[in-house]
Symmetry: C2
Subunit: 378 residues, 2 copies
Amino acid sequence: MAFELPATSLELRSRVTDGQLELSLVPVALRAPADNEVVVRIEASPINPSDLGLLIGPADISAAVVSGTAASPVVTAPIPAAFMRAMAPRLNESMPVGNEGAGTVVAAGSAAQGLLGKKVAAIGGAMYSQYRIVKAADCLPLPEGATSADGASCFVNPLTALSMVEVMRDEGHTALVHTAAASNLGQMLNRICLSDGVPLVCIVRSEEQAALLRGQGAQYVVDSSAASFRDDLEAALIATGATIAFDAIGGGKLAGQILTAMEVAANKTAKVYSRYGSSTHKQVYIYGGLDMRPTELNRGFGMAWSVGGWLLTPFLVKIGAARAQGLRERVARELKTTFASHYTREISLAEALQPDIINAYNRRATGEKYLINPHKGA
Amino acid sequence: MAFELPATSLELRSRVTDGQLELSLVPVALRAPADNEVVVRIEASPINPSDLGLLIGPADISAAVVSGTAASPVVTAPIPAAFMRAMAPRLNESMPVGNEGAGTVVAAGSAAQGLLGKKVAAIGGAMYSQYRIVKAADCLPLPEGATSADGASCFVNPLTALSMVEVMRDEGHTALVHTAAASNLGQMLNRICLSDGVPLVCIVRSEEQAALLRGQGAQYVVDSSAASFRDDLEAALIATGATIAFDAIGGGKLAGQILTAMEVAANKTAKVYSRYGSSTHKQVYIYGGLDMRPTELNRGFGMAWSVGGWLLTPFLVKIGAARAQGLRERVARELKTTFASHYTREISLAEALQPDIINAYNRRATGEKYLINPHKGA
């Protein structure tokens, strides 16, 4: 093959020391792939909310200090003392970051030659790196004509959105509620629900976001910033009968407000008063933490309720390889339609360490998403 | 039979009108029992926390006003406006109260003559009444020598405590956490766990309560009022491996603190850092609301967690009649040992409507329990 592997690959690393977060770019020696492995030149990797916990965590970026050189900056930022107990398990470990990405296979082991030169997507961490060694079996070859940017978000958002519908069905519900619903993931979920005939209540935080989703065919959109929010939500829940929500916000009163509105909707059809509230089970799964404040539940929604954390990977393990593969295949088939992602900006590894840019992607603003291209400017 | 049924039976009623709670004693015409029914002269009925929601709800008893006569008082108390939305389903309905009780069968239908003159316990509401018509099949005959007071709390506390152990096993846990653990129910649960070899972490709110439980053989008792509470709880969770808690408190930070301590305990054995926290599922079931403030979860315990409401009746339905009957039979066998209850005071129906006494039983103080004897002073 014509391509000569470089000796080293730059990797973005996140390390927590006593009271501080440190981000840096570390050159890592690049080995030859094993028989069943390939070397992917990573060309696009998104910064998802699910990456930010590991990358930034609770550090105060407004107080960040930059040292090092322009090509190899080092950023340090203080971590408030209250969060250090939770940081104990990762203390002093230099951790690579980046759940998923896509790029070109530039070297392949003897059993993986068929992938050489192909564009592939992969998941598994450490994707904020110039090169990443991946098992051939873990690569998802992109369809003809797809770019690395097209394939960068093949896993986390598409599989999460598809899994929400699977969980809904598995747990006996017939309609869904989603928060931060104008996000890339939320727009995907709306397309899935429209295509699969699943009633979806989209909760957004501005009229602009509501208009965006309505423009994409969403039927039940409620704006949590509107004075009529509680009434609007109740009306949407009565219309759809949704009794399960996936919540990306996590903090504040929203999860409890959803449960309360579900309870009001359930009681509309109740024949007699039950002192313990309706017997309809109401479920909120918190899968993100866009609002890092505590979750506040006033429990004014009877006793048949549950709020819990939800993660994609354990769910995929639980449903088994065959069902999970079916979901992946649907993503590949509909990559440029149902599962299309939109990015606010493409940045280099060095730019990912500039405090003003960190502040921008760490804002977790709905609909904004940053894409790292580890070869930009390199 | 020698006993002549009276024409009416006094019933305690709770009614919510616009902004007000009204408690009163209502004479209700007493009919003859059907073939498969009995008339129980109720002699003892506990005021459980699970009764207080229906009986008092969010009313402000400190502003209660009494009218009517000494024998037939009427109490009214304001309900803060914020709670009226939740009261809508019961508005203007005169509701009988009292989940469970015990007494003597004073009349019986043709198919229930075998119960005549027997002491029985029953569950099903409206037990704060002088006489209650019950299906014979729903009566639990008390063992020889047991008084009505002995049998008054046969169902709610004993079956709840037994069910906690059942849920623990059904959901794959091997040890339990319980809050307000010095309550009558908590003391029962401690006796069950000691007898069944289930490690139990008892969370109490004072050193006095801790001493009480230790005196009853409890091995893992932690006092949430102690400065070392978090460390003590972590140590108890590491020692027991408990990953499920039943919480009677509900409000404030306790449920979250339990999850955090479970997460710390789970991470003690983790080999590698997971950005999403441990994969050990951590469960808190809230089955009471001794603290009526919102539940506050800081979510510093990974993603594998769930907090939910828990109610006895749906659980008994779910496990099926045979298993539920097995639990009931154990209660009858161990009524005066494992399932013995202790009462602070026996009160009449009229006393149950005196504001100072309402304040006393509505305090929900751990270890204090009031028993209504509807024939006291009658």
